[in-house]
Amino acid sequence: MSSGFTQVSGWGQTSPARTFLRDAQSVKELHNVLTSVGRRGAIARGLGRSYGDAAQNSGGSTIRFTDRSFSFDADRGVVTASAGATFDDIMTQIIPHGWFVPVTAGTRQITVGGAIAADVHGKNHHHDGSFGNFVHSISLLLASGDVAELDRSSHHDLFFATIGGMGLTGVILSATFDLLQVSSAMMSVRTERHGDIDSLMESMLRNDSAFRYSVAWVDGTATGKHLGRGVITHGDHASSDEVRSNHKRPSDYRSPTTIDIPPFVGAARSVRRSTSLLFSELWYRKAPKLREGQLVSIPSFFHPLDGVGHWNRLYGKNGFVQHQCVVPLDRDDVIRSILQRVSSDRPANVVNVLKRFGEGNDAHLSFPQPGWTLTVDLPVTSQLSTTLADIDEMVSSAGGRHYLAKDATTGSHSIRGGYPRLGEWQHIRHRVDPDQRWQSDLSRRLNLCATLKETE
């Protein structure tokens, strides 16, 4: 067990925290750590891919559960994994056997514990829902030191409070979840380019149900009649017939090696207005108007950014905010307004993603709900807080919400409005953690763990 005060931050590198970072390899070590947690409490941290302040705890403890082991039943397609197991490791082992994770975020570098705590979603949300939908059971270390076994029938309220619960109900120790059967390690992809946001959204609504995976990249620098122009990629796991010609069997899957952005690059911001304009133009132009049946590898379809280690450093030392919201389907006007607001600031903005969410689930704080979800990357500048306040106002008044795993700036009132089941969740949380043992910078900033008298 190693430990010490150190500075950690989320993937966006904003608001770093000085925290007592403690590694525990086993449940016994976790128990030891717990006995010495003080008033500022503790929060679990995986690979630090939350963008904001969800997995850090200023002045308190931040615990990394470093057991990365998992077991895999290749006949039934079920994985039982320690919370510290990574999607990268799991995929490397399961894909050659013809299985795939049921949901993958935009990176493989996340842990099972983090995926449950944030109830991550992927390009298949409209088809399959979020990761929590595939979880059978969770083993949770409670504030009392006891370990609870949660599933849909036993402790079901705590089970759903833990999915999407941002680590604030306890430390997830392990979980069992279902896999998806695939017959190749390739994706069959359809690419469409659209010259404006209306045509892009209209096409997405019309076509996405025909594909398991669907997502659009949107040009955040385009304005006027080109506002929201972008490229839709729909995809399905390629059948064995489709890949026969190029011999890509599941067993050919390799987790690709990455190039790494060294720390000194972060001293100067590399993503600037000029580079973002150039990138956006090239990215848009290189996409075909329509291409079908293209075979693409799993990493380049799902995790293109994993090809560049520490790409977050490209935004410079002030970091960046990845803002993700969802608004109801009939409020597509809000998506247009957000894109207008973003482009009017002329930011150095590269990665913007639009997707249609399907049904949500029973988890109290799970982010996805039916509607349009838009993600924008925005480097921190002096005007950013005003921009984000305007956007948050648009989202809130449309009945939308913000993704807690990415949030770094939203006010607590927007979160209360966006998550109507927050009070219910707080009651469940209070029952298992009356002394506020689990805390994070996120929970304090958004007053998530407010004492019950404040919320009643």
Partner: protein
């Protein structure tokens, strides 16, 4: 907590109606600011000030008597009670007074030092402990060039600011690597309510200039800010003047 864009959620001002203190505070108020605490003696004026802030901000006006040394630390500890953090504390309360009045009433002189030195030190001390525990925070201490080298015609005010300034800088050293940062502000003559009717000294400035210089210093992580900046040079000379010359300097 600070937001990802560096905005502050909770700000407390000791000397809640202080003109310079409020002007500094306003430069830190943004869309993410949720709570402001104004600690002041005159809560009626404090409430008038409170009403000027945007509707989404909760402003608590708390009665605070600087001469009561326990009052400041009590407010700080109350702020920490609800498990939310204090991001910025501005210590701005001070009394300027007339040297002639201090000469006529030694108790008044002592009281001025309580208000200008003892009380801020008590509050600073409590703030430092609390912010160290939360792992982050900013403190702004209103000092004055008058404390850099104390003039005989302003000796009570100057000496009291000198004491506060020295304590704050030493505390800042103590807080290295705790995530807590102190910025000591040393303005010259500032036009405003406190100096109304007084003859301005050379290099006089105004609250808005002090506030923006302070804001920039905090953002840049500078420990001492002189307003205007030229006073740093002026006082570098003043500090080494032989006393035979210094003793004759009057404002």
């Amino acid at each position: 907590m600070k937001s990802g864009t560096g905005e502050l959620q909770t700000i407390a001002l000791f000397g809640g109606t202080s003109e310079i203190g409020l002007t500094i505070l306003r430069t830190f108020v943004g869309p993410s600011t949720e709570r402001i605490v104004l600690a002041c003696r005159d809560t009626v004026s404090g409430q008038t000030v409170a009403d000027t802030f945007a509707e989404h901000i909760t402003v608590d006006v708390i009665e605070w008597e600087a001469r009561d040394l326990a009052a400041g630390p009590n407010i700080i500890s109350m702020l920490g009670d609800d498990n939310r953090d204090v991001d910025l504390v501005i210590i701005a309360a001070a009394t300027l007074g007339e040297q002639s009045a201090f000469d006529a009433d030694p108790v008044l002189a002592g009281e001025a030092v309580v208000i200008n030195t003892a009380s801020p030190i008590a509050t600073l001390s409590a703030t430092a402990s609390q912010m160290t525990a939360q792992g982050h925070g900013n403190i702004i201490v209103l000092s004055s060039v008058a404390g850099v080298r104390v003039r005989s015609d302003n000796r009570v005010y100057g000496a009291s600011k000198s004491g506060l300034d020295s304590y704050a800088l030493a505390l800042a050293n103590e807080l290295d690597d705790t995530g807590v940062e102190i910025t000591v502000v040393r303005p010259g003559f500032v036009h405003g309510r406190m100096t109304d009717g007084m003859k301005p000294a050379p290099f006089a400035t105004d609250p808005a200039t002090v506030a923006s210089a302070t804001h920039n210093a905090v953002a840049a992580g500078r420990r001492v800010v002189w307003v205007p900046r030229v006073l740093q040079l002026v006082f570098a000379v003043f500090r080494i003047l032989p006393n035979s010359i210094w003793r004759r300097i009057r404002r």
